[in-house]
Subunit: 234 residues, 2 copies
DNA sequence: CAATATACGGAACGCTGTTCCGTTTGCCAA
DNA sequence: TTGGCAAACGGAACAGCGTTCCGTATATTG
């Protein structure tokens, strides 16, 4: 499975007057240099010690003071987003492509989730950070949701429209569930997150029997309709 | 759904010479009193601020110094285990009971997992602590596994033997997956862990079509047997 | 009522994230 | 080229955490 590209941002100051807002008074040269250095250092530090590596370590790697980090990236989430921006973007863009190239919408969904899982699982502590409700990670949360939620929703809708999965599962739940299942995937050799995710994805498939039941239920007056199998677990 | 009992240990020093090992020279009265006070304080603090409440807060609640906590409970995990021991025990004991009383093994499994999820979801941060690979939580991990893994395995085996679920899913994976799905269930109102767990449990069901395919595959020479639907996601 | 082992309290240490300000440095205009 | 100033830097300093350690207090026992 081809993984998403993993090079580092090089278009840091590419917002040179995009036409809207205040003129953006152009940053100093050393500032731009440091920002790039910091991204490299952070990327390396994340690989070595996870995304929750001490700020001082990143600063030391980059050869700057801690103040410089906070000036460029007010929260840790901003730094994480900057480091993984390209990969998240690639994952988002892969969604529509998979929908077009895959046999069925469900296959596309499964493949896309695979991509997402591969990404999460190979970044120490990213999954953990994503579910953390620490205020420092709010930006991270927001960014991932902003980029990936629409993609996931579209795949989900397509699969539901094709009658392959049961409707009513929203993208947020799925994304969050998948993210949750990835927690600890790297540190625990006994645990295989991919397998559990596959089970989850399998769980939302609509099977012949359920589909039939669902149709007869739809024909009857709505209300106490008995939802499919997994509801017996509630 | 009846939840597990939630009273606090009162048989702290019930190991008064159980016959084995060194004579256990009987603790001082104030020590026993403090241990109980600490359990109460910790229980209250966990409810108020989650299981990762600062040690000092627990100490303040109990009216003791932090040293006293560490003397009684060397690691935070020991304290957590002590507080929730009864409930975990009850959950473990409910397994065989459910297997006997429920219609099918799969129903028993689903109900038991419900019990487990209800327990996890109502304890702030417990799920998070369970997957944390922080060394401080090793005891917690070990205890939960020790008590719940055999129960889960037995339910799983029963369901597999009845042909209701696909074999080859081991109890550790399931327990861990369910635990993972419970992370953040309390703090994120948009997320419904129970629903995702239900999906996961549904995912391991063996359906008519798959069962048939599985049988023909078993009849053929083993090796490149194509596993059921969810494998297309791998 | 001593003597002593046991347990207690909380100061102290080390490691975090985060802020803040004196100092340095790039930039531009004179 | 140079002077001045805004921008950026570095790291000391602060606050909050877990954990350790030891002088002090106290329950127990003879």
């Amino acid at each position: 499975m081809a993984d998403i590209d993993s090079d580092i941002d090089s278009d840091i100051d590419s917002d040179i007057d995009s036409g809207s807002g205040p003129p953006a008074p152009r940053k100093r040269a050393d500032a731009r240099r440091n920002e790039e250095t910091l991204l490299d250092a952070a990327s390396a530090a994340f690989v070595a010690s996870g995304v929750d590596v001490p700020v001082r370590d990143i600063a030391a790697r980059a050869g700057v003071g801690v103040g410089t980090i906070y000036r460029h990236f007010p929260t840790r989430a901003d730094l994480i987003v900057a480091v993984y921006r390209h990969q998240v973007e690639a994952c988002a863009e892969a969604g529509p492509a998979l929908l077009a190239s895959s046999g069925t919408p469900h296959a596309a969904l499964a493949r896309w989730i695979d991509l997402f899982v591969d990404f999460l699982v190979t970044k120490h502590g990213l999954a953990e950070a994503l579910q953390s409700n620490d205020a420092a990670f709010a930006t991270l949360h927001a960014y991932f949701l902003d980029r990936l939620l629409p993609v996931c929703a579209r795949l989900l809708d397509a699969a539901a429209a094709a009658g392959e999965i049961l409707p009513g599962v929203d993208a947020y739940h799925l994304l969050r569930g998948v993210g949750n299942l990835c927690v600890g995937a790297e540190t625990d050799p006994r645990y295989d997150a991919r397998r559990m995710v596959a089970l989850l994805v399998a769980g939302l498939r609509l099977h012949r029997r359920e589909a039939a039941r669902r149709e007869t239920a739809a024909a009857r007056p709505a209300g106490a309709s008995s939802p499919p199998e997994q509801s017996q677990a509630m």
